[in-house]
């Protein structure tokens, strides 16, 4: 037995050696890939996490985000900011969807290629995650929320095709896009990561952008923090959950504003900011609209002058307002709902009293309260979240 003593000592030594500090190395890009990418882009060594998590008050009512694939979102981020993907090389998605404005534009009409101007107001993308969300199995069902002011796109991918090929926006053909992408050295490694091959097709480009855009959510607002801790007092159709009780963390003005909002606006824009209750509505901007909105696409008479019901998340950050950016600030919006609603045969019933447009009779202090409430819907984190920022080296 004694003879074994040195051997045991040796094992004890090994045991100590084994306790040395561990050496784990996580890699994403190879050396060669890093070399190529770092010439053009500032991407983190390890990719950011683009998983969207809904606040509990939304997941509790069965609302879930669409799955986002990280590697595709990383690629989508580069595409989103790449001006080369436009006819004159000056316009990227980000031109009209600016991060500091919750991915909206501060102009009523945005500038596209060759200084052409869009015919509608850029829509804030800061809560696309909401729009692409769905209830239970209702993934692409008829009540899934659609894209664009006139609801003409079913998915973020179809929408992106629209933006890229729109002659007022980027004015490319999808074939142009694919060949331009293929010609940039930095896309090969990114495609490899996202799709396992360097083959570029227009479908894959769109899929990548869609993943990036679908990851944009604004769920860290004051409203969410309060709603997470409250029980809804009313849950109507289409999951329109409304919080009638005062939020303990809100000021008196914010709570008064919430009450006014619940009574006058929630039936369309939703009470929990989950997703709009209605897909589209005529909110009486014009009695004789020139932009026919959804009706212009479907040809249906009752939809002429109807537009997508937008989310009001980040609303304080995304002026000007409405599909044509006609209102410069929220005060003007409230003035409109107060006394400016125009009659129209298909004006939505919620905005009518009898046969006439509703007058909401907000006092000046009501308006201040409502704006105080609308301000609680902003998520400032999004505005400087690096993973959504411009990755290009200037």
């Amino acid at each position: 037995m004694k003879k074994l003593a040195p051997v045991f000592t040796l094992f004890a030594l090994f045991l100590l050696l084994g306790a040395c500090k561990s050496d784990f190395n996580y890699y994403y890009y190879s050396k060669e890939e890093t070399e190529v990418l770092s010439q053009f882009l500032n991407l983190p060594e390890l990719p950011d996490d683009y998983t969207v998590t809904f606040p509990s008050h939304l997941s509790n009512v069965g609302l879930f985000p669409r799955a986002v694939e990280r590697d595709k979102a990383v690629l989508g981020r580069v595409i989103f900011y790449d001006k080369k993907l436009s006819k004159d090389g000056t316009v990227a998605c980000a031109n009209c969807h600016k991060q500091e404005l919750a991915f909206s534009d501060d102009k009523a009409f945005s500038d596209g290629v060759y200084d052409r101007s869009t015919t509608r107001n850029s829509i804030a993308l800061g809560s696309v995650a909401n729009f692409s969300a769905y209830y239970g199995t209702d993934l692409n069902g008829s009540s899934a929320i659609r894209f664009f002011w006139d609801n003409r796109a079913e998915t973020a991918a179809i929408q992106s095709r629209g933006s890229m090929t729109n002659e007022k926006e980027m004015d490319m053909t999808m074939h142009d896009i694919a060949t331009t992408v293929e010609a940039q050295p930095y896309y090969a490694p990114l495609f490899k990561k996202a799709f396992g091959s360097t083959t570029v097709t227009d479908e894959l480009v769109l899929e990548a952008v869609a993943n990036f855009v679908n990851a944009m959510g604004s769920f860290q607002s004051d409203f969410d923090a309060e709603a997470n801790q409250s029980t809804a007092s009313y849950s109507g159709n289409f999951g329109n959950t409304v919080y009638d009780n005062d939020f303990s963390g809100f000021s008196a003005a914010q709570n008064r504003g919430k009450k006014l909002y619940n009574n006058n606006c929630a039936s369309c824009h939703s009470g929990n900011m989950g997703r709009p209750v209605l897909q589209l509505a005529n909110n009486g901007l014009e009695s004789n609209p020139t932009d026919l909105g959804v009706g212009g696409i479907t040809g249906l008479n009752e939809q002429k002058g109807s537009f997508k019901v937008p989310t009001l998340r980040n609303i304080a950050l995304t002026a000007p307002y409405m599909h044509d950016g006609r209102f410069a600030n929220l005060n003007e919006v409230l003035d409109f709902y107060n006394t400016g609603i125009q009659n129209h045969p298909f004006l939505h019933a919620d905005l009518k009293t009898g046969n006439q447009p509703k007058h909401m009779n907000f006092s000046e202090s009501d308006k201040t309260d409502m704006i105080a409430f609308l301000n609680t819907l902003s998520d400032e984190h999004l505005l400087d979240d690096k993973k959504f920022s411009n990755p290009f080296k200037q």
Partner: protein, 257 residues
Amino acid sequence: MRPFILIFAGFLLLAAGCVQYHYSPNFVQTPYVVKKGDGMVTAAISGSPVALNGDFHASYSPIKYGTVMLNYFQAHSSFTENNFLGGPSYLQTTKGYLVEGAVGAYKPFSFGTAALYVGWGQGQMRNDYGINRIADLGLQRFFVQPTFTYKNDWFRLGIGLRFVRLNFPSGNIDYRIEPADVVIIQRLEKESPFWFPEMGGNIGIHFKPVTISANLVIMATRPAAEYSFDASNIGVGLSLELQELFKKRNRNSVIEE
């Protein structure tokens, strides 16, 4: 009830196979040496419908009451993960090895031995998650193993309790593997080393000098899902007892006793 249990067991096997793993226990070897000069070699295979592991073992008693042993374990599994959401399906593979040496002291009885082994080894587990996304982990294992063996002319029974200290000293991990798998590996990195017992043994029929055996090893307590450990192995082995193969030379040592 019986068919239900069988189906359930089948499911368990399948489920066990369809997970990538960072550790798989080799068989708990129980050298049937009872005197100086005894030795044996064993080759065994184990696995599931998607995995095939090889276990190689050699032991020898160079001195009275003392044994040295050498084990080599090779793990291999591969399966195609079905992507139920309609995306691509990837061929995923796990390959690994562990090589270890141990010394032991045994006390012979008329029916067999009681022994205590202490060993150390190292190896590697390499998981390919498809499209060349690889996580390569180095592993080191220290163990203390009390063992009991029983043998007669035609029968072998060996049982060992292996107290393991498993360390993951290094890793090279492609960050493109599923985020959930990265989380598991980060957990291994953070919580390593692990201490846990494993139980195993073999039961065999002996035809001089060969033994055909059934082998089993089960690790206790480690929740496989949280760490992607393969919790058990079951298989068959073939052993050769050297003192029976080279009978003449060994006569002397018997007289020595």
